[in-house]
């Protein structure tokens, strides 16, 4: 917990935090890391395999094969999400399924499924990007900042 947050708590509350913390199981960080490494690695290997197939059998080159590969991975992720399997894999894999593009597809598909009962416009349309929205907003914003930095460096005669 940050020290700023800690300061707002009374001494009794702080004492209780310590008391409770001693009785809570910790997140198994090492185990989670290993699992994330394995599953994330497997997903990326599948992606690599798909890319190889697209390059060797469908006439894509290294630059263009990326798009159909991502499309297939996204499709698989959405399929597993809609079959209700993805969240169970994710509970086991943690960041392994969250970080690759499959995790991103899962956020959108799961929110869309969840809010289907409120209709296509206010439900699906309005909530689809509930979790993915911030990723897109700040992803685009950081890309913008990074490109400005790049332009400035170029103008100053850098690489």
């Amino acid at each position: 917990m940050s020290s700023k947050k800690q300061k707002k708590l009374t001494p009794v509350q702080q004492e209780y935090q310590e008391f409770a913390k001693a009785r809570e199981p910790k997140r198994p960080v090492l185990k989670n890391c290993i699992r994330a490494f394995l599953v994330g690695g497997i997903i990326c290997t599948i992606g690599q395999g798909l890319m190889w197939i697209f390059m060797n059998y469908f006439g894509f080159d290294e630059k263009t094969a990326g798009s159909p590969t991502v499309a297939v991975l996204v499709f698989l992720s959405v399929l597993l999400t809609s079959l209700g399997v993805y969240d169970h894999i994710a509970q086991w894999a943690g960041a392994g399924t969250a970080v690759p593009v499959t995790g991103f597809a899962n956020t959108i598909a799961s929110a869309a499924i969840e809010h289907r009962t409120e209709g296509f416009v206010l439900g699906v349309g309005g909530n689809m990007f509930k979790i993915a929205g911030p990723v897109i907003v700040y992803g685009v914003f950081s890309a913008f900042v990074v490109s400005i930095v790049k332009v400035v460096i170029k103008m100053l005669g850098g690489v």
């Binding site: 509350q13 008391f19 199981p25 997140r27 999400t81 009962t117």
Partner: protein, 336 residues
């Protein structure tokens, strides 16, 4: 009648003449499956939304409790109910179906005992011949309400709990056979500064301890006079914290006399319920007490129990605004 600072004694000892528990697919595989009146193998219950499914379970629980009491719904004067969906729609929509004069309550997962205590007060004071108290929760509906979409793959920490899909209801009357509600202690809101909504057990434990202490003080009793002390949905972690906190405050309770419904609801081996510290939700304490423990009382296995239902009074918005989690607990004693 008021006893001590925050407790009520029900002098006429309202009788629980009918009780019911309805559960979903996960509960059907759990430890208390045999004590449910109705179990569903489908989370949707054939409805087209989880909210409607929850409402249907609450309707079934109410109808079953009324039927078991040998009454018709016209005989019941008041219906008290609460749940976890925004604006407690499961309760209010059930009240629409039942057509019984209705008081909606909200105490998060403590709603079960809040409802029972209030219903007992209404019946005890003679303001009603019969009162019905119910509550419900639905795993997917609560996840949607409080956390993420159900199919979203976010890893839950080991302190997280699993919301029970189910509903429970009781019919109280002035006369009849069955367990009697003898007293209640209304809890204060306690906030010990926990802000992690995936750690409800630790957040709610101090509220449970506060209410237990208040109950002991107001009635000048120790916990040994109860065959069983039952907390609602603290889960495994919350239960161990509660036990240690009680010990710290000089209250010792033997391991076999203290049960937490959340910690015992599911089996370790149950598939699809990830690790997790136990069960939670309004229906957790409601189904286990109104099903399992009332049945055991009727069989004579238990004579006196103290049920403490705990609730976390947060909202998704208060959590996003970085507020800590205020918690509450209400205790009700039942005797036969």
């Amino acid at each position: 009648m008021l006893q001590g600072y925050q407790s009520w004694v029900f002098e006429n000892k309202p009788v629980i003449i009918g009780s019911s528990a309805v559960g979903g697919p996960f509960e059907a595989q759990g430890n208390y499956a045999a004590d449910f009146d109705i179990l569903h193998d489908d989370l949707w219950l054939g409805e087209d939304s989880f909210e409607k499914a929850e409402k249907k379970m609450l309707e079934q629980a109410c109808e079953k409790a009324i039927k078991k009491a040998g009454l018709k719904k016209e005989d019941i004067q008041f219906f008290l109910s609460g749940d976890l969906i925004n604006q407690i729609i499961a309760s209010s929509f059930t009240a629409r179906t039942l057509g019984i004069p209705y008081l909606g309550i909200y105490g998060a997962c403590s709603s079960a005992m809040e409802g029972l205590a209030l219903a007992a007060m209404i019946v005890d004071s003679g303001f009603a011949r019969y009162a019905l108290a119910g509550t419900s929760s639905h795993n997917a509906a609560s996840e949607k309400q409080y956390r993420y979409p159900t199919e979203y793959g976010a890893q839950k920490p080991p302190t997280a709990q699993w919301t029970v899909t189910g509903a429970g209801a009781v019919v109280l009357g002035r006369e009849g056979d069955g367990p009697r509600v003898t007293s209640a202690t209304i809890g204060r809101v306690v906030d010990m500064g926990i802000s992690d909504p995936f750690n409800m057990g630790a957040a709610m434990a101090p509220a449970a301890v506060d209410t237990i202490e208040a109950h002991m003080r107001d009635f000048n009793v120790d916990l040994m006079q109860y065959d069983l002390v039952i907390t609602g949905d603290l889960g495994k972690i919350g239960r161990s914290i509660t036990k240690d906190l009680l010990k710290k405050h000089g209250i010792d309770i033997p391991e076999d006399r203290y049960i937490d419904c959340g910690a015992t609801m599911y089996k370790e081996s149950q598939p699809l319920i990830p690790l997790i510290a136990g069960a939670s939700g309004c229906a957790c304490v409601a189904t286990v007490v109104y099903g399992h423990f009332l049945n055991r009382m009727r069989k004579g296995e238990l004579k006196r129990i103290l049920v403490i239902a705990t609730g976390a009074l947060l909202s998704p918005m208060s959590y996003q605004q970085k507020e800590t989690i205020p918690c509450i607990a209400h205790a009700v004693s039942i005797e036969i």
